[in-house]
Symmetry: D2
Subunit: 275 residues, 4 copies
């Protein structure tokens, strides 16, 4: 199998010109999407979202539908979570990025989200990808944790071939023999993806690190290597988080991350690196 | 995360007593499901199925809905393929095993299939797993190619927790650094899965090997290690196959495989190995 | 880089005709090398060796020089261990296989050993491989746990190119993301190595499994897939073993293993499978 | 097995105070070791070394003894290469870093080198590590391409336990399923190693990328994540290089790399990150 990167290059959006939700970030600004792993309550979401807005991040991320390895873990608030996200959007003006887990809920997600996330576990789900291609929203497609870049680009093709060229790719770590990371962050992939397509490439340091202390330096590295943005988990009370608390940074750490990523990413206008 | 194997052990079906489609194979017989990767036409399916029946295999496998990495590859005949499978069943009496790719088609698949297959790429798809738990048919759950055994067992839990204890697990190779296999067949997983659950464990040597010449000896190894059965791709005109021709064995090779697997597997009654 | 398998095929020894230590096993007999991970004392070595001889195994394996990950672990008895191995050879008539860790001790090892083992960690050590090529003894070369087959064959070339065509290859498991094995046993490699070279290919199920209960079924699978022999760790008091006790099988289990491997391997004469 | 990081922490040298060859770099300066993969001739080495010196890099790296996968590839100039390195040192004043492949040549290497490199393939070679512990020079220890961090730290222990606390660790990429990199650069390892030991941690982006165009941005990422320095391959005529030409950057690119790494690394004094 061989990916058809030239097609993505032609149909893709130029880095720096991505218009998510109708609003165009300044071309030199990295996209920073921050928020809790899961929407746990309206109070929790609004409390954290206000801190995210104050940090200068571009958007708010949080899961209403959660893909969990175990059927006995918290599966998200579902439709109620989407209603909370809509309120976060109204109150803070932040872009909303949230995940669609299956075709059944995709339209409901797309009504609320400025960016519809397709998670790592669904990168290989062609019917969901095809539906995402018809949802009318930019799609944030996370690389599967055992996917080659060809496979990621072909997954993007399922979205693009169904009429939606607004795809953002996201590196979030791959599965290796290593036991010191939740997943091994493959920053080289950012360079290769940018060299092969015109699609923006984001990095999620939180799921790769699995550890709060390492999120900020990995986000710095992502910006230095030329990523178009980062996706990061933030929680103000991580010990109470229903999901992934140990990897959530604090709002204060987010302030520093936004500054660092802007400084490092801003130094090199998007679209010029690694070609 | 820790899987809850004791639950699967309690609710699972004892190896050797698996009743697929209402018919119980003799307890010392390995389950052998053979057929082409994809249903390509009625003529092709019936032609191969007659050879499968003559070989003494238990069932016929073939995809009506095909999960493909690229949107530009053959995606299967869909509903038409299911109708062909129904005719194969009537004409040959073979058990039918075919894959359900998404919730939308699951009920249609379950009407035709004696065993509903959930493929590797959907092992991480909780909503499909939950639906499979309610489909009323035994479910053949293939291990994701980067899944740990805990993750596979928790995926099985999604099926079991939704009311369906008739789950068959299938090892089909994992993704590693190796370049000589399509996937590295992990036969040790068969032993660990049998030690941890009461569910039958099958092996698919075809997708692991990716190469016709190696399918038979890997199937022998699977039987020798104690697998409860094998899933194998067969085609009489592999050079014309629309999908995975290079790994399909011939009907003559299937005859040998059925004999070898029976001889090796039959030597040790199911349910007694690897404890 | 591309391996030059045709060279190995030309210079290699035909499977079934390997003459280790001047004695040719019957061509249909798998080679079974069994013994403790480490030589711990003369009494321990002789006690276990007598049981190995009684089982019908071909040779005795045991480490005098042990490659250990930590400098604080037992490093082997060294020269004293070699003297013990010489006595085992005299008393039992078993072939002796033991590891050479570095060039300094290679000659001393080669004086005692019928087969000089180069371990996984030294597969990438060209100066040791070159010396092994000049040692005058058959060399058992274990695959590195992250080595491709090309790399293994090129390592064999270092031995062959230095004048020694008597190389036996050994698959002992590779490093993957899996957490249920010490290493993932890659039995497909046995088929590919046999298809590409004329060298005998052994399998070490002990280091792959890491768990006593799984050694016997994996050895059966190795025989069924067509391996030319197995290397297996045995201890009669595993709880006292200074090294790798949990993966050592008992002498009684060895009796069964020898019978099973002979039955499965003997069913198919060496040199005819997987071509 | 568990590494004993506290010991390394106690005996290690504080980041920022590493004195290689008796000269202490300013504490806020990253260590930049640059040069060709292999010393090919005196003229080539001096020509490149002058450009390395002009770039402001700290030292010159180049192999006199080359570990090659194939016995038919160029194996380095050996002793002659060491003599050339000695001349490079005299003429340019650059620190010299070169690899010792086996114990036989270690003393000769240590007479010329300010830093003795132990390569990835020898990280598992305890006798070479022990000798390096007695060589009287700082040791640059590269992580094996399938080594966990515990294994790397235990390899460092072999050096330290033999009397040499001056160890520099180096991440150079790990072996994964990815086909877009020569090795997957694991920058998270830099953070974990710095958190667990007081040893300096360098990064080699050249061997990971395998591709010239990606070396500079990966070096930037290494600096941004907090590495204490980089090891980089440079060649002015890469098309003529006897080894690894495709990953060698040009002297002009080295100028930019030195500037970028200093700017990014200098922004955060060594020893303060990732705690």
């Amino acid at each position: 199998m061989s990916a058809r990167p030239e097609r993505l290059r032609v149909e893709g959006i130029a880095p720096g010109s991505v218009r998510v939700g109708g609003r165009a970030p300044a071309s030199s600004d990295p996209l920073i999407l921050a928020g809790p792993c899961a929407i746990e309550s309206e109070e929790q979401a609004l409390r954290i979202a206000r801190r995210v807005a104050a940090s200068g991040a571009t958007g708010f991320r949080g899961g209403a539908f959660k893909p969990r390895t175990s059927p006995y873990d918290f599966q998200g608030l579902g439709e109620e979570g989407l209603a909370i996200l809509a309120r976060v959007r109204r109150e803070t003006g932040l872009l909303i990025c949230t995940e669609a887990l299956d075709g059944e809920h995709l339209d409901a997600v797309a009504r609320v989200a400025d960016v519809v996330q397709i998670g790592s576990r669904n990168m290989d789900n062609p019917s969901l990808l095809a539906r995402a291609g018809r949802c009318g929203r930019p799609v944030l497609l996370k690389r599967g944790f055992a996917a080659t870049l060809d496979e990621l680009l072909l997954a993007a093709e399922y979205v693009v071939a169904n009429g939606n060229p607004r795809v953002l790719l996201c590196e979030r770590g791959i599965r290796t023999f290593c036991d010191h990371s939740r997943a091994t962050l493959d920053l080289h992939a950012v360079l290769r993806l940018r060299a092969r397509t015109g699609l923006p490439v984001l990095v999620d340091p939180s799921h790769a690190a699995g550890l709060r202390a390492d999120v900020l330096p990995l986000a710095r590295a992502a910006a230095a290597v030329g990523a178009d943005g980062v996706l990061v988990e933030v929680h103000d009370r991580p010990e109470e988080a229903l999901c992934d608390g140990p990897q959530a940074i604090s709002p204060d750490e987010l302030d520093q991350l936004v500054g660092d990523v802007r400084a490092l990413g801003g130094a090199r206008p998007l679209g010029r690196c690694a070609s």
